[in-house]
């Protein structure tokens, strides 16, 4: 059996918004084995993004434990979490979230600035990552000079450049046209199948979800369905 990359046990997340308590996740258990490609689906407010944020260590559960690669995230301080994220997590945002004043190359290089890699090694890694997403010829372009699909490909390059253990993608095709969305899903599939990257993706789009190995459905903070690829 493959090693577990993500292990979620009894996780509850309670928010207080505008004076009201909102139960985002209710006693969720989940195992994510190495090399898995999970699509988290469900209606808005079902807790998909909350689950993704907990796995990324950018939010903390109200109850329960989240462990990634054997590290229980609740035991880490804020600064330890920041450093841990840099080493273990690649995050892809719906709105790409590239830094507008930096070029594609500089955006992809950002996570590597927190490592001990020398400039020449960083250059090699950045070029490899951009080459992998087919943007080796757009390195010096600023985000504004790229199409939405190209921006998301730069964001994927940024997510994989530090060779993370898990890639978390929040609606990666949500802001893209169908063709660009297809290209992005194709890249994610390659990362999962060829490079055995573990991917957890939040999506509303059944077509995008179909690229995943299994689909998890959440409703009102509860996992209601776990469907494997036929």
């Amino acid at each position: 059996m493959a090693e577990l990359v993500g292990k979620i046990r009894g996780v509850t997340k309670l928010y207080t918004r505008d004076g009201f308590d909102v139960l985002a996740l209710d006693n969720v258990d989940l195992d994510i084995p190495e090399g898995d490609f999970v699509a988290l689906m469900g209606p808005s407010g079902s807790g998909k993004s909350t689950l993704l944020n907990l796995l990324a260590g950018i939010d903390r559960p109200t109850n329960g434990d989240v462990a990634v690669m054997g590290t229980t995230l609740g035991n880490l301080s804020e600064s330890q979490l920041a450093s841990w994220r840099n080493r273990h997590v690649g995050y892809i945002f719906q709105s790409f979230n590239l830094i507008p004043v930096l070029t594609a190359y500089e955006n992809v290089e950002l996570p590597l600035l927190l490592t001990d890699l020398k400039k020449a090694d960083r250059k090699r890694s950045v070029e490899t990552a951009l080459d992998l997403v087919g943007l080796a010829d757009r390195m010096d372009h600023r985000p504004k000079q790229l199409s939405g699909g190209q921006e998301q490909r730069v964001a994927i390059a940024r997510a994989i450049v530090a060779d993370p253990d898990i890639i978390l993608a929040d609606e990666p095709t949500g802001n893209l046209d169908a063709r660009s969305g297809e290209e992005i899903m194709s890249i994610l599939t390659t990362l999962n199948e060829k490079l055995t990257k573990t991917i957890v993706m939040v999506t509303h789009d059944p077509h995008a979800a179909a690229f995943a190995k299994r689909q998890l459905h959440l409703e009102k903070g509860v996992l209601v369905e776990n469907v494997g690829k036929s």
């Binding site: 950018i58 804020e78 920041a82 997590v89 995050y91 979230n97 830094i99 004043v101 930096l102 927190l114």
Partner: protein, 387 residues
């Protein structure tokens, strides 16, 4: 590793309008600071260069300035033959001098200021260096003639070559214009001491300038004069005399400068704070993204402080450019010791430029701290939701 500096520099130039407005407000503050400090430095440098290393200036005990001092002929005779006074051709190098003030209107203004008239003796010029007549000639002993410094001639009405002015009821004619190497004497009019004593009906002198034989004698002779109960005089090394005069005046100006600069700095600091709050607000999602990538709260904080500093440094550059043309521009103010005009040049020196840099950076730091702390404290999830 912190965020790359190019990230901050490029962001500074993305917001050209607000960056320029903030940099200009810091620049004006730095320029005012620099100008006032250059004024004080000009006074200091003028007065510090005025004394000769082997000269002692002697005035009455208890007097704080030549103007309120009084030394009679008998005491002068005793002074010039004291052991330790240098001689030239057998004559002691000692010069009695007298001071009075005349009020003159400034050029282009109805208001004026007191100008120092110094009555000098035959040995006075031997005791001072850098003096030279640039127009006309020197006065003839015993006659009601005067020579006026170039700066005073330039700054006051009717004090040019050939003009006449009155000391009490006596009319003096200006027969020459002199320069004195930028020293304090360039704020004076010189006349023959006997002509001045006659015009002011004053039998005594204001001060005596003595040249000592060597540096070792300077303090011992000063102590010898102070200890002599018959003389009731005090002697001060001429360099220290002018330094003290300078610091009294320049410290007052500096105090005023600090006061104005601090008030303006608070204003500029708040302008900087406003700019940085806007930057943080505009880039909240970006901050969230950087945190997700692994940048710590501290690196976010430092990044915004650095960005504010970059704007401040731009402001300092503007301030220096605004203040620099003043360097060596001649001006004048009231000497708070002699109660008369002191003419000097603004001096924007390197240490003042350094102080301006620190001052401007301080404004940048003040303006950045609260917004930067805010930026570093965002919850990542909340920051990412901002659009």
């Amino acid at each position: 590793m912190a965020l790359p500096i190019k990230y901050n520099i490029r962001n500074v130039f993305v917001r050209k309008g607000t960056t320029a407005a903030t940099a200009i407000s810091i620049g004006i503050t730095v320029a005012v600071f620099l100008m006032v400090m250059a004024l004080a430095r000009g006074i200091d440098l003028t007065l510090q260069s005025s004394g000769e290393p082997l000269n002692l200036i002697v005035i009455r005990q208890g007097a704080t300035a030549e103007l309120v001092s009084d030394i009679d002929q008998e005491k002068f005779d005793a002074l010039k033959f004291l052991d330790g006074v240098a001689t030239e051709n057998g004559e002691p190098l000692a010069a009695p001098e007298a001071i009075t003030l005349v009020y003159r209107p400034r050029k282009g203004q109805s208001q004026g200021a007191n100008v120092t008239i110094r009555g000098i003796g035959p040995k006075s010029n031997d005791l001072r260096s850098g003096f030279k007549i640039t127009d006309g000639r020197t006065f003839q002993p015993g006659l009601a003639e005067a020579i006026v410094s170039r700066r005073i001639a330039d700054r006051f009405q009717a004090l040019d070559l050939g003009d006449r002015f009155k000391i009490q009821s006596s009319e003096f004619t200006i027969v020459g214009v002199f320069e004195a190497g930028g020293k304090a004497f360039e704020s004076e009019i010189w006349v023959d001491i006997n002509a001045l004593k006659s015009a002011t009906n004053r039998p005594s002198y204001s001060s005596v300038l003595l040249r000592v034989k060597d540096a070792a004698t300077l303090e011992t002779l000063a102590a010898r004069i102070a200890d002599d109960q018959r003389l009731q005089l005090k002697a001060t090394p001429e360099i220290k005399w002018y330094e003290d005069q300078g610091s009294a005046t320049s410290q007052t100006i500096r105090g005023l400068g600090y006061f104005i600069a601090v008030i303006m700095a608070v204003g500029a600091g708040f302008a900087g704070m406003n700019t940085m709050y806007a930057a943080v607000s505009h880039r909240t999602q970006e901050i969230g993204t950087l945190r997700v990538l692994g940048f710590s709260r501290t690196s976010i904080l430092l990044s915004f402080v650095l960005e504010s500093m970059a704007i401040a440094i731009l402001g300092v550059a503007i301030g220096i450019l605004l203040a620099l043309p003043l360097n060596f521009v001649s001006t004048g103010t009231n000497n708070f010791v002699t109660f008369s005009e002191i003419a000097f040049n603004f001096r924007v020196t390197w240490d003042l430029v350094g102080a301006a840099l620190i001052f401007g950076a301080g404004i940048g730091l003040f303006g950045s701290l609260l917004p930067s702390i805010r930026a570093s404290r965002f919850a990542i999830v909340d920051a990412l939701r901002e659009t």
